[in-house]
C-alpha cells in the first residue's frame, strides 16, 4: 500500500508548489538566464526513446551551448564513444531536458524543449575547435526555462575541492573492462593509452 501511483496521492503528500517555484518558469531565455547559460561548461542532457531514458554528460569551454535567440539554443556534438544514444533518441523523439551546472554556483538552470539534429556545413563550421567541427549540432527550441537554487548542490558540496575523491581511489576504466570481459579487453594497457587517445580525440 505504500507505493504511490497517482498525481493526486503525490499532491496529498507534498502539497501544491509555492509561487516562487512556478513564477520563475518562463518560455524563453531572459537576460538573467542568459548569463547562467553563458557561464556553464557542463550540461546533463536527458532524452528518451523506445529503449528507455538516457541522461548524458556534455561539456566544453564555458558557454559552449550557444544562445541563437531567446527561443533557441544550439549544442555541438563533440567526440565521444560513438554510442550516440542521445542522438538516436532525438531522431525518434524530439523532447529534451537540459540541466546546466555552473561550477562554483549553488544555482542550476533548467531548460526543456524540442530538439533536432543538423549537419548544415556552415553551422558545423561555426563550432570548430582546434580545426575540428562537430559532426552534428543539436538545435533546441526552448519551451520552459527556470533556475533552481539547488539544495542538492549544497548538500553534495559539489564544488568543494576538499571533498573530492582522489582519482586513483576508484577502479579505473581498464579495471572495469578487464573485470567484465574476463581480461579480453581493458587492463593497465587501456588506462595507459587513454590520456593520449583522449587528447587526440578531444574535439
Amino acid at each position: 500500500m505504500s507505493v504511490i501511483t497517482s498525481v493526486d496521492q503525490l499532491e496529498a503528500l507534498y502539497g501544491i508548489p509555492g509561487e516562487t517555484s512556478t513564477a520563475k518558469e518562463i518560455d524563453h531565455i531572459s537576460p538573467h538566464y542568459r548569463r547562467y547559460i553563458e557561464a556553464s561548461p557542463f550540461v546533463a542532457l536527458a532524452t528518451g526513446g523506445p529503449e528507455g531514458l538516457d541522461c548524458s554528460p556534455r561539456g566544453d569551454a564555458r558557454g559552449f551551448v550557444r544562445i541563437h535567440d531567446d527561443k533557441t539554443v544550439m549544442m555541438p556534438d563533440r567526440r565521444g564513444n560513438n554510442r550516440v544514444d542521445s542522438l538516436r533518441n532525438i531522431v525518434r523523439d524530439p523532447r529534451v531536458g537540459l540541466l546546466f551546472l555552473i561550477p562554483g554556483s549553488g544555482n542550476t538552470l533548467r531548460l526543456n524543449g524540442r530538439a533536432h539534429l543538423s549537419t548544415d556545413p556552415a553551422l558545423l563550421d561555426s563550432f570548430v575547435m582546434e580545426g575540428k567541427p562537430p559532426r552534428s549540432v543539436i538545435v533546441i527550441a526552448v519551451e520552459r526555462v527556470y533556475f533552481q537554487c539547488a539544495r542538492a548542490i549544497l548538500r553534495a558540496e559539489l564544488w568543494n575541492p576538499e571533498t573530492h575523491v582522489a582519482a586513483d581511489a576508484l577502479p579505473s576504466a581498464g579495471d572495469i573492462l578487464a573485470a567484465l570481459s574476463n581480461n579480453r579487453v581493458g587492463g593497465p594497457a587501456y588506462d595507459a593509452e587513454w590520456p593520449g587517445r583522449a587528447k587526440a580525440s578531444m574535439w
Binding site: 516562487t20 554528460p57 564513444n81 550516440v84 531536458g97 533536432h116 533552481q148 571533498t163
Partner: protein
C-alpha cells in the same frame, strides 16, 4: 563561407538528420569498449563509483516533456539495495516534484552520477517507483528527518563513461569556478520576471 546565422532560412533541408540509418552513416559503429562495459546489474567495481557519488542528475519523462533534476546529498546517498536495485531518498525541495509527477505516470528513469574529482561518470537506466513505506523512509533519516518518499529504481542498464565532457569542462578545477556574486541573484531574477509579468 555560408553564414551559420542563416541556418533557419536554409532549414528544412538536407542537413537535418531524421533517421537512425542517417545517424549510422554519420557516426559509424560504436567503440567496442563502450558495448562491453554495459551490463544489467551493478558490479563490484560500479558499486564503488555509486558509493563515492554525492550528486546525481535524474531524468524522467511525462506528458509535459522530459525533465532533468539535480539530486544530492552526502557521498553514497543512493543506496545499493542489491545488484538490481538502487534507492534514492526524496529530500526537501520546492514541492514542484516534477520528477515524482513523471514517475507515477511513466516509470522510466535515467541517472547520471557525478563523482567530484573523477573524470568518470556512472550511468544507470531503469524503472522507478515511489515508496512511502515508513520503515523504509526512516532508514534514510538525516538529523531525525525522514524523506517523504523514496525513489526505488529497478536497474536495467549500467555503465561507466570516461567522460571527455568532464575533462573538457574542467569541472572539478576550483581555479576555474565562477564567483557566485558575478551572476544574477535569485532576488534579481524573480524581480525581473515579476516586473515583466505586471508590465
Amino acid at each position: 563561407m555560408l553564414d551559420w546565422r542563416l541556418h533557419f532560412l536554409r532549414e528544412p533541408g538536407m542537413s537535418i538528420v531524421t533517421t537512425l540509418a542517417e545517424l549510422d552513416d554519420l557516426y559509424g559503429a560504436a567503440v567496442p569498449a563502450s558495448i562491453t562495459k554495459e551490463i544489467d546489474y551493478i558490479s563490484a567495481e560500479y558499486a564503488r563509483y555509486i558509493e563515492a557519488s554525492p550528486f546525481v542528475t535524474l531524468a524522467t519523462v511525462g506528458p509535459e516533456g522530459l525533465d532533468c533534476s539535480p539530486r544530492g546529498d552526502t557521498n553514497g546517498f543512493v543506496r545499493i539495495q542489491d545488484e538490481k536495485t538502487v534507492m534514492m531518498p526524496d529530500r526537501p525541495g520546492n514541492n514542484r516534484i516534477d520528477s515524482l509527477r513523471n514517475i507515477v505516470r511513466d516509470p522510466r528513469v535515467a541517472l547520471l552520477f557525478l563523482i567530484p574529482g573523477s573524470g568518470n561518470t556512472m550511468r544507470i537506466n531503469g524503472r522507478a517507483r515511489i515508496d512511502t513505506d515508513p520503515a523504509l523512509r526512516d532508514s534514510f533519516a538525516v538529523d531525525g528527518k525522514a524523506p517523504r518518499s523514496v525513489i526505488v529504481v529497478a536497474v536495467e542498464r549500467v555503465y561507466v563513461q570516461c567522460a571527455r565532457a568532464v575533462i573538457r569542462a574542467d569541472l572539478w578545477n576550483a581555479a576555474r569556478h565562477v564567483d557566485p556574486d558575478s551572476l544574477p541573484s535569485i532576488a534579481q531574477m524573480l524581480g525581473a520576471i515579476a516586473a515583466r509579468q505586471t508590465a
